[in-house]
Amino acid sequence: MARPLTSLIKRDVRLAVRQGGSVVQSVLFFLMIGMIVPFGVGADADKLADIAPGIIMVAALLALLLTLDRLFQADFEDGSIDGLITLGPLLELTVLAKGVAHWLGTGLPLVLAAPVMALLLNLPLDAYPVMVLTIILATIGLSFIGMIGAALTVGIRRGGLLLSLLVIPLYVPIIIFGSAAIAVAGTGSPDLPASLGLLALIALGSLVLSPFAAAAALRLNAA
């Protein structure tokens, strides 16, 4: 049962890397937000460091949100989704594999780009380790919660806007706890384990539950 899933993950990641450079584009988009913020708020180093946690989280959210509509689009358009539903392993597992592939193709590059982003925004150096951990947990949550929205809106014309409307409210806790964790990182604050713990809980919860919701949504859209 595991082999078709790993080959599916490999295929999806390869597609994401090769197809139109979407990985590079979303990373560039992420970094450009970091570049454009100092123009808006001024280049005061302390001020930038203050808002850096929030900006990094929001930028990660936006960069990931923009890739969601492609998650099931290709499979839906070429009809391979019907094959995934009727043949192969359980659809929930297939969807889980697609989520993992999506995270490897978009979340992980954002994690790797995050230190550069932090540099642009003058985040204190001792906050970096926590920030990277936060972005890892946050992007898992963003990918898997977003997957439900992607599956719900896959067949809809101009579904991208509706997709954002559906998932952004569900993203709010990730932004709250993620920004809080980065903001207190390196200060030795007792709030840090709480924020990271809740973030891990959200990541795990979405990893476990969203494949069921997304699979149900795919089944109805393919029917």
Binding site: I148, L152, T153, G155, I156, R158, G159, L162, L165, L166, I168, P169, L170, V172, I176, A213, A216, A217, L220, N221, A223
Partner: protein, 252 residues
């Protein structure tokens, strides 16, 4: 007429009879309208003229009679929509889908009124219109956006049958927010005070303020039931004509 009946059977086959629903709704709606009107007149009289001023908040406490019923109804309506969606998911009950659809805008309106009245209550009492750090306030605002997302699903998906199925999933996923709203005041120490009514040692609201509150609750509850029934009836009629139009263009 014969064709209509056949199409009805096609689209609503083996589901609870929408005709029976409309017949019952038509019979009870006039009574519900009268009851809702009476409940509002009675409730407002009690709330504005009979209820005493609070020992701390004096006259401002009267905002409670709008804020508390709408806030609880905002969550209750979403819980009903979720239940309805689960019923529809398990038994394929189409009227349950449409009842959830008709409930959504009413629930969204309750949520908005709760946020708005809360803001106007918070300004004089707490000293702030809005606190981003308060879990109760923020989770209630998220509820409003989840309502909007649910309504967006129905609006955007053209095929009513697909829209119904997508809406069920949205309602069930969105329900994760309900326990967060309810227990936010217990999990975190918030600016918002803990629950006044559902407490281990009984309600913390004095009788003289409690009865007007119950009356207003009844009024908003009846208002919801009335509006939801009217809305569901309209949705059934619209669903039928839409499904008919779709079948005709597809040549079935």
């Amino acid at each position: 007429m014969q064709l209509d009946e056949r199409i009805d059977r096609l689209t609503m086959q083996r589901y609870a009879n929408p005709k029976a629903f409309i017949a019952i709704a038509d019979r009870v709606i006039p009574w519900l309208k009268v009851l809702t009107g009476l409940a509002f007149v009675g409730g407002l009289y009690l709330a504005l003229f009979q209820a005493p001023a609070d020992y701390q908040q004096s006259e401002t406490v009267r905002i409670m009679f709008v804020h508390v019923p709408t806030a609880t109804m905002s969550m209750m309506v979403f819980a009903i929509m979720t239940t309805s969606s689960i019923v529809a998911l398990i038994w394929g009950h189409r009227v349950a889908d449409l009842f959830a659809r008709a409930s959504a805008p009413i629930g969204a309106a309750f949520t908005f009124i709760a946020l708005f009245s809360g803001s106007f209550w918070g300004r004089p009492m707490w000293g702030t219109w809005w606190e981003w750090g308060d879990a109760r306030l923020v989770s209630e605002l998220i509820l409003l956006f989840i309502y909007f997302g649910y309504m967006g699903i129905w609006q955007t998906i053209d095929d009513p049958i697909k829209a119904a199925k997508a809406a069920r999933i949205t309602a069930i996923v969105g329900a994760v927010n309900l326990p967060i709203i309810k227990f936010s005041v217990d999990w975190w120490n918030t600016l918002h005070q803990p629950a006044s009514l559902v407490r281990m040692d009984g309600p913390a609201i004095h009788e003289s303020l409690l009865w007007p509150l119950f009356a207003m609750w009844a009024a908003f509850g009846l208002f919801y039931v009335t509006m939801a029934l009217i809305g569901t009836k309209i949705e059934i009629l619209r669903f039928q004509s839409r499904a008919r139009a779709m079948r005709q263009t597809e040549g079935v």
